[in-house]
């Protein structure tokens, strides 16, 4: 595995030359400050950019070209970490050695340039029909979270917990934001994204990376150099514990107990918190939550505990019958309380560390995971898999017990199942 970074001032290339996979993978990320942009508009823009371009001006033409390139996989994603707004375009394609066309790689790279540099802004506008088609799609996307009780509870509870913080804001935006968005907003956001974002390009595959870098240097253009520091964490102040119950049309009650966090050390954030998650609620059926909620009391099918340090919160989730809310809460408290005294669980903790090591080995079988790990290491200092393996082994029982003191109960969110017949049918 040969890693190399190419710095072209306004954009950087992170490459990994690796002869392991039959595919090659390129991801192009624009990373800016979420406080300066609307993620609703950005989401629209990124979807629009992969749907049509100046040259492939209909969705059909675009799809035909993708098939000509042996079904190059293409998608975009807009996500947030702290105050960083990531807009990423992913391109996954067959290694050129499996293709008879000798210019295949160049065609793929030309296609990528077309998408990034030549959006379909004919006459500096977007066609009415395309704009309204895309809006319709965006509305559907925005409303989709209501179609699953789990997604609804996740989105709604975060809005309730953080009404005035970026952590509570929906990444897709709201229907109102979308309605207010104009074509000019989208076009302006494209230029804003190019001018005000870091641009980081990751490439992995058995390719001559110097040649690829040369291609990007000659063909890719980004106007300005960005140097602004954008924090990867949001400081959400601690709130008093409170309980919120809501009615829902769903068949199962959703319970989320939030915790807010005191600041973690880097070691705690990178390593201890992962083992903490596994011991409390992410070890298949062996973790504490599963043991109490499912194993002992048969209260649920699925429970989970997770830490989101970028927003300084953590949560326990359970899907259950509303009759079982009180007893489940007691069990969740018991499980959390036990995290203060883990001496007797030394073996279990060691098992989770071994399991995590094994999980990290699995990551080496995915070109996407290897590239992401390298990319986040470069931009944020996230440990490389090798560093994870070395440092996870150093996590002690005491580290975990100390971390338990940094969790403070916050919002208890209960989305109650509907009354009466569970599954109305015509």
């Amino acid at each position: 595995m040969k890693k190399k970074k190419y710095d072209y001032d306004s954009f950087q290339l992170y490459t990994i030359e690796l002869d392991k996979f039959k595919n090659c993978f390129i991801e192009v990320t624009f990373r800016g400050d979420v406080r300066e942009s609307s993620s609703c508009i950005r989401n629209f823009l990124s979807n629009y950019m992969i749907l049509t371009t100046e040259k492939y001006s209909t969705r059909r033409e675009m799809m035909i070209e993708r098939e000509e390139l042996y079904q190059i996989e293409l998608h975009s994603n807009v996500f947030r970490e702290g105050y960083n707004l990531f807009t990423t375009f992913y391109f996954d394609f067959l290694h050129p050695k499996y293709v008879k066309d000798k210019n295949y790689l160049n065609h793929v790279l030309d296609f990528i340039m077309e998408i990034l540099l030549k959006p379909n802004f004919k006459n500096h506008t977007i066609e009415d029909s395309e704009f309204s088609y895309m809006k319709e799609h965006a509305h559907t996307q925005i409303n989709q979270y209501k179609e699953s009780p789990y997604s609804y509870a996740m989105v709604d509870s975060l809005e309730e917990l953080f009404p005035n913080s970026i952590s509570g804001k929906r990444i897709l935006g709201t229907n109102e934001e979308l309605e207010a968005m104009t074509k000019e907003d989208v076009i302006n956001d494209y230029h804003f994204m190019f001018e005000n974002s870091y641009c980081e390009i990751g490439i992995i595959g058995d390719l001559d990376m110097d040649e690829i870098a040369k291609y990007f240097k000659n063909h890719f253009y980004k106007p300005s150099i960005v140097t602004k520091e954008i924090p990867f964490e949001v400081d959400n102040p601690l709130q008093k514990p409170r309980k919120l119950e809501k009615e829902s049309p769903y068949s199962q009650t959703q319970l989320i107990q939030f915790y807010q966090l005191d600041p973690f050390t880097t070691f705690e954030e990178e390593y201890v918190s992962i083992i903490f998650e596994m011991v409390l609620g992410n070890a298949e059926l062996s973790d504490k939550l599963a043991k109490y909620l499912r194993g002992e009391e048969s209260l649920c099918y699925y429970s989970q505990f997770y830490v989101r340090y970028a927003g300084k919160y953590a949560a326990t989730y359970v899907g259950l019958n509303k009759e079982n809310v009180s007893i489940s809460l007691q069990k969740i408290k018991t499980a959390m309380k036990e995290m203060f005294h883990l001496e007797k669980e030394r073996d279990f903790i060691e098992e989770q560390k071994t399991r995590l090591m094994s999980y990290l080995e699995l990551k080496y079988d995915s070109s996407y995971d290897i590239l992401e790990n390298y990319y986040f290491h470069e931009i944020k200092g996230t440990p490389l898999y090798e560093e994870y393996k070395e440092n996870i082994a150093k996590v002690t029982v005491k580290d975990l017990e100390n971390l338990a003191h940094k969790f403070h109960e916050s919002l208890l969110y209960i989305l109650k199942e509907k009354e009466g017949e569970q599954n109305e049918k015509n």
């Binding site: 059909r60 298949e284 009391e297 999980y359 015509n426």
Partner: protein
């Protein structure tokens, strides 16, 4: 040990069999960093009626799934999955319509993991208290799926397509079924089907096939099983006609969904099922996929927001399924039905899509875990690994495709519509 070369794909699978009848498949991926072991029992959620030695059994729907749960939980009051955890591995189990799998993923202690897997379903004792403890989680799993559009729509489509096939019923059972399942039902299912002669092991990843096969055979030598009496699974004679031509219901969604499914007897086709499936998927994609003008027009006119098509089989029938998000179900249904009656033979599109299909087949082997699932489906469904898949596709000419196209008839079809509940005044 037999060596199966997947021609043109640079992939090899080794096959062998233990003295007790347990088949072994080993797919070696030398570059992989992990391995997987899957124990497959050829019995699943649709096996509810069977005869053993002249005695008839009928168990409630959900029995196979209940057994899968029980086998995961039961072991001296701690979950069986914990054993894999102790080895630093992950594990899982799942019930499919015709088979049940138990599997682990790991990167160390292969032998210990494999022995643990082979012990997982072996000589299980049934304890009433342990058995009852699983009912609560299963009921919650069932309730969780009630809000799951994909599961519920699949279930209604099956009920519309078929009058007799057990796929009409929910694989994990309804709440009523789950409450009805007794330990005796689960135990008789276990005694009937959980036997090496009705099972196989599939191993993939960075392993030595000779060692793996030797290890499994040694493990099996230590085990004793009762004499295998081959159960006769119920056979179902499904009428050609669809059961429910039109059905609609309300569901917790924002935009209506329309599903149009076509039912064609597989015997109508002169080619073998796997090839028919691939070719019909090409035809469906050319007519309804993202490069079709029909789809483009439908989406441009805003009559539909999405349109998807896929072709699969259900026992003796080929099913072409179209799914749409649309605000105008009543308008869209006749348009799509008309299109179904006048499918086009789009030569250029089909040629291009054939090229894509072959490329995807090559790339598919990069995703070890997904491909492992496909190979297991292939073994359980067709009884063998299709070695010549890529060659077959490469040999397909336009005349072959045209023959399948001519043999397809959309006459028997059904429509399932899911509509949102009416909104209250204060909702938006």
């Amino acid at each position: 040990m037999k060596k199966i070369n997947l021609k043109g794909l640079d992939e090899v699978i080794y096959q062998d069999e233990c003295d007790n009848g347990l088949k072994i498949y080993v797919w070696v991926k030398p570059n992989a960093n992990h391995f997987n072991g899957t124990y497959v029992v050829n019995a699943g959620s649709e096996d509810v009626k069977f005869t053993v030695d002249g005695k008839n059994f009928e168990v409630p729907f959900g029995t196979a799934h209940y057994l899968e749960h029980y086998l995961c939980s039961e072991d001296d009051h701690s979950p069986y999955l914990k054993k894999f955890n102790e080895l630093g591995s992950s594990s899982n189990a799942a019930t499919y319509p015709n088979y049940t799998i138990f599997e682990f993923f790991g990167s160390n202690h292969f032998e210990e993991n494999m022995n643990c897997l082979l012990d997982w379903t072996y000589q299980k004792a049934f304890d009433e208290q342990e058995f009852e403890k699983e009912r609560g989680p299963i009921l919650e799993e069932c309730r969780m799926y009630l809000d799951h559009l994909g599961r519920e729509s699949h279930s209604e489509i099956q009920k519309s397509l078929f009058s007799v096939y057990p796929s009409r019923e929910n694989g994990i059972g309804t709440e009523e079924d789950i409450l009805k399942i007794s330990m005796k039902d689960v135990e008789s299912f276990y005694q009937t089907f959980y036997h090496p002669k009705n099972s196989y092991v599939f191993v993939s990843g960075k392993v030595d096939p000779v060692e793996v096969i030797h290890m499994i055979k040694e493990n099996q030598k230590e085990k004793t099983y009762p004499k295998w009496i081959e159960p006769k699974k119920a056979k179902y004679k499904e009428p050609k006609k669809v059961c429910r031509p039109y059905f609609e219901r309300n569901f917790g969604i924002e935009v209506p969904r329309v599903y149009i499914s076509v039912k064609v007897p597989l015997k109508n086709f002169s080619l073998e099922e796997p090839l028919v499936l691939n070719i019909m998927n090409l035809i469906a994609s050319a007519n309804f996929g993202s490069t079709s003008t029909f789809r483009e027009e439908l989406l441009d006119s805003k009559l539909a927001i999405t349109l998807g098509a896929w072709v699969h089989t259900e026992r003796d029938y080929l099913i072409l399924e179209l799914s749409m998000r649309t605000k105008y179900p009543e308008e869209v249904i006749p348009i799509v039905k008309e299109k179904l009656n006048s499918l086009e033979f789009l030569e250029d599109d089909i040629k291009r899509k054939l090229k894509v299909l072959i490329a995807n087949m090559v790339l598919g082997f990069e995703n070890i875990d997904e491909m492992k699932d496909s190979l297991i489906y292939m073994i359980s469904h067709y009884g063998r690994i299709i070695e010549e898949g890529k060659e077959l596709l490469e040999s397909v000419d336009l005349e072959t495709i045209r023959s399948v196209y001519n043999e397809f008839s959309p006459k028997e079809n059904c429509v399932v519509v899911f509509k949102p509940f009416a909104k209250k005044k204060d909702e938006h």
